[in-house]
């Protein structure tokens, strides 16, 4: 860690002028070109999902498949809404379930993991290395074979067929703790020390000093976790129809065979669109952190 002196309040920096440092025009041009070429390839799935959702049925079944839609239509979405109205339980119930599972899974994980990451990054106590090592190593064990013991434990705890069966395991994913810990490590000790000297408890230091300083980290973690929770179908643990999440019911709709190909395309669009919106909200805030406040003042 760098010394205190390096982290004095930075002087007002003229960002426009600073951007010119060590940047050549030719280099900029080269990077633009590279990003453009690669960007086309990377954007393909996005472009396809959007276009498919707008294709009328005959274009969806067209062979060879075309990427771009010729006669855009919204009938896939109207088809989907008709199917939604036919569902066993009111569709709003699925949406509510998803909101409960995704929101508590994401927020809870960010809080629990950050809480645990702070002492691992900044305190010194017996067992610290072992605990952190276990968390990192645990990510390397295949999920497939732990599913059965996991199921046994969840049943044993009486969590089967409750939201908690999906939410509680999500709070302890190793990746989140690891990510938060790595970012918190970079916070200068002097900053925390000054907070402690002011008489703040560790909990207060955590909320007022640590978390605001690692905003890019927890926003990024929220993106990962949201994606993870949004994708949960709950097939393993949720038996009651009225507990099942949106993802499950949408997948049921797409499994109705070729007649539902249009609705299925609309489903793919919705399944991708929600995490993307969340992604953009978080990601633009990651950037805001940089432009509005110096990270390390």
């Amino acid at each position: 860690m760098a010394s205190t002196a390096e982290y004095k309040k930075p002087k007002k920096v003229n960002y426009k002028k600073q951007k010119q440092l060590n940047r050549s025009k030719a280099g900029n041009g080269l990077l633009f070109f590279l990003m453009f070429i690669c960007g086309i390839f990377m954007a393909l799935p996005l472009v396809m999902i959007v276009n498919n959702a707008l294709k009328p049925l005959d274009e969806i079944f067209q062979y060879p498949p075309k990427v771009f839609v010729k006669n855009p239509t919204s009938e896939n979405f109207t088809d989907l809404f008709v199917l939604m109205n036919d569902s066993w339980v009111p569709f709003s119930r699925y949406i509510l379930n998803t909101i409960i599972i995704t929101a508590s899974g994401t927020v809870g994980h960010v809080i629990v993991a950050s809480f645990a990451a702070y002492p691992l990054a900044k305190h010194n106590f017996p067992g610290k290395k072992i605990i952190f090592g276990l968390v990192v190593l645990s990510m390397m064990f295949s999920y497939t074979v732990t599913q059965i013991p996991n199921y046994m434990i969840i049943t044993w705890l009486g969590l089967n067929n409750t939201y908690l069966a999906l939410i509680l395991p999500a709070w302890q994913y190793g990746m989140g703790l690891y990510l938060m810990k790595q970012f918190m490590e970079q916070i200068p000790d002097s900053l925390l020390e000054s907070s402690r000297l002011d008489g703040a408890s560790e909990f207060k230091t955590f909320w007022t000093m640590v978390m605001p300083n690692v905003k890019p980290a927890w926003l990024t973690l929220a993106i990962f976790q949201f994606q993870q929770m949004w994708g949960q179908t709950g097939n393993q643990f949720l038996r009651s129809e009225e507990l099942k999440p949106l993802q499950y019911s949408l997948q049921q709709i797409t499994q109705g065979g070729t007649a539902r190909a249009g609705a299925a395309a609309a489903v793919s669009f919705i399944i991708a669109a929600i995490p993307i919106i969340f992604f953009l909200i978080c990601q633009s805030n990651v950037i805001e952190t940089m432009t509005t406040s110096g990270m390390k003042d």
């Binding site: 590279l34 645990a116 074979v145 732990t146 690891y178 970012f183 890019p216 995490p275 990601q283 950037i287």
Partner: protein, 320 residues
């Protein structure tokens, strides 16, 4: 003489014991003093014990049993491991593929993540968020593989075949995923295309935390271009993120299975696309031999742990 030595040993022993007692006292003292730390860790650790440690230990236990998921597991000792290494030819192919795959895509994906995160960091404002989305798109769109099914379509209408025929490289369309020699290279390319995921986003966030005044100082110290700036300032400032990215990369490169199953099928042609994890899935979800699958998982785990040790050592040298 002998007496002396004995006396010495006992003396040393009491010394050591006292030392130990002191240490324990100090340890207990330190534990008591760290109450806040443990309190903050507690919620996580309790959940972690129930939902990760216990399942992993149980799985490792299963690896010494025959367990078909219907009857209770029966203890078979090292039999699964012996069969795995001496009797299972497909596992050897899978292991070879996985190692080859990890050695190629691991470092390459990792470098791509660093490179693109850094380039995107050169852009500002809305354009930046947009570019991040575009490059993260394959990881966020559920059915990203579909694109590759169209590109690699074995008929003349497949994009790749179409282009190659048009430009005169080939006369007949190639059955990409049904031809043994193409399977692994294609999977490597698709994996690279998919590689801008977890590590990439964490680098993007990590770049935000680099102290901007360091760049000014570096420019004064004679850093001449953006490449030098990257190596001497940016990368060393984000070492924690680089470590994180490396671990994520290892877990992804060694556990690759999805793209192989989606594009080449499971089993693939002559097991050309078999990886340790597809093999594991084959036993765990198709054949219901959980004991054997757990043994595969344990071997894979040890493989990753070893690689991780090595990689962390290499990363320690960044910026030197």
């Amino acid at each position: 003489m002998a007496k002396n030595t004995v006396a010495n040993i006992t003396e040393n022993n009491t010394d050591a014991n006292m030392e130990k007692a002191k240490m324990q006292g100090r340890l207990w003292f330190r534990i008591k003093k760290s109450k806040t730390s443990y309190l903050m860790l507690a919620p996580y650790l309790i959940l972690f014990t129930f939902f990760t440690i216990a399942p992993v230990l149980v799985s490792m236990g299963f690896s010494f049993t025959y367990f078909n998921m219907l009857e209770a597991p029966t203890f078979v000792g090292w039999k699964n491991y012996i069969k795995l290494f001496l009797d299972d030819d497909i596992f050897m192919i899978a292991l070879k593929n996985t190692l080859l795959f990890a050695v190629i895509t691991g470092p390459a994906s990792y470098l791509l993540c660093v490179l693109f995160a850094w380039i995107i960091n050169e852009f500002k404002g809305k354009l930046r968020a947009f570019l991040t989305l575009i490059f993260y798109a394959p990881s966020i769109c559920g059915q990203a593989y579909l694109v590759w099914n169209i590109i690699l379509n074995p008929g003349k209408t497949g994009w790749l075949n179409g282009i190659l025929i048009k430009w005169g490289f080939i006369d007949e369309p190639i059955l990409w995923m049904q031809t043994e020699k193409y399977v692994l290279p294609v999977l490597v390319i698709v994996q690279l295309w998919l590689s801008l995921g977890t590590g990439f986003l964490s680098f993007i966030a990590g770049l935000q935390t680099v102290d901007k005044s360091l760049y000014e100082a570096a420019a004064m110290d004679g850093v001449k271009n953006r490449w030098q700036e990257l190596w001497y300032v940016t990368l060393p400032s984000m070492k924690p993120q680089l470590m994180f990215g490396a671990v994520m990369q290892i877990t992804q490169s060694f556990a690759v299975a999805d793209i192989s199953i989606q594009l080449a099928g499971n089993p693939s042609v002559n097991y050309a696309g078999a990886t340790v994890t597809t093999h594991l899935l084959d036993y765990g979800t198709t054949r219901f031999e959980m004991g054997y699958a757990s043994a595969i998982a344990t071997v894979l785990f040890l493989l990753m742990v070893g690689t991780n040790k090595l990689v962390q050592k290499i990363l320690g040298r960044v910026g030197e």
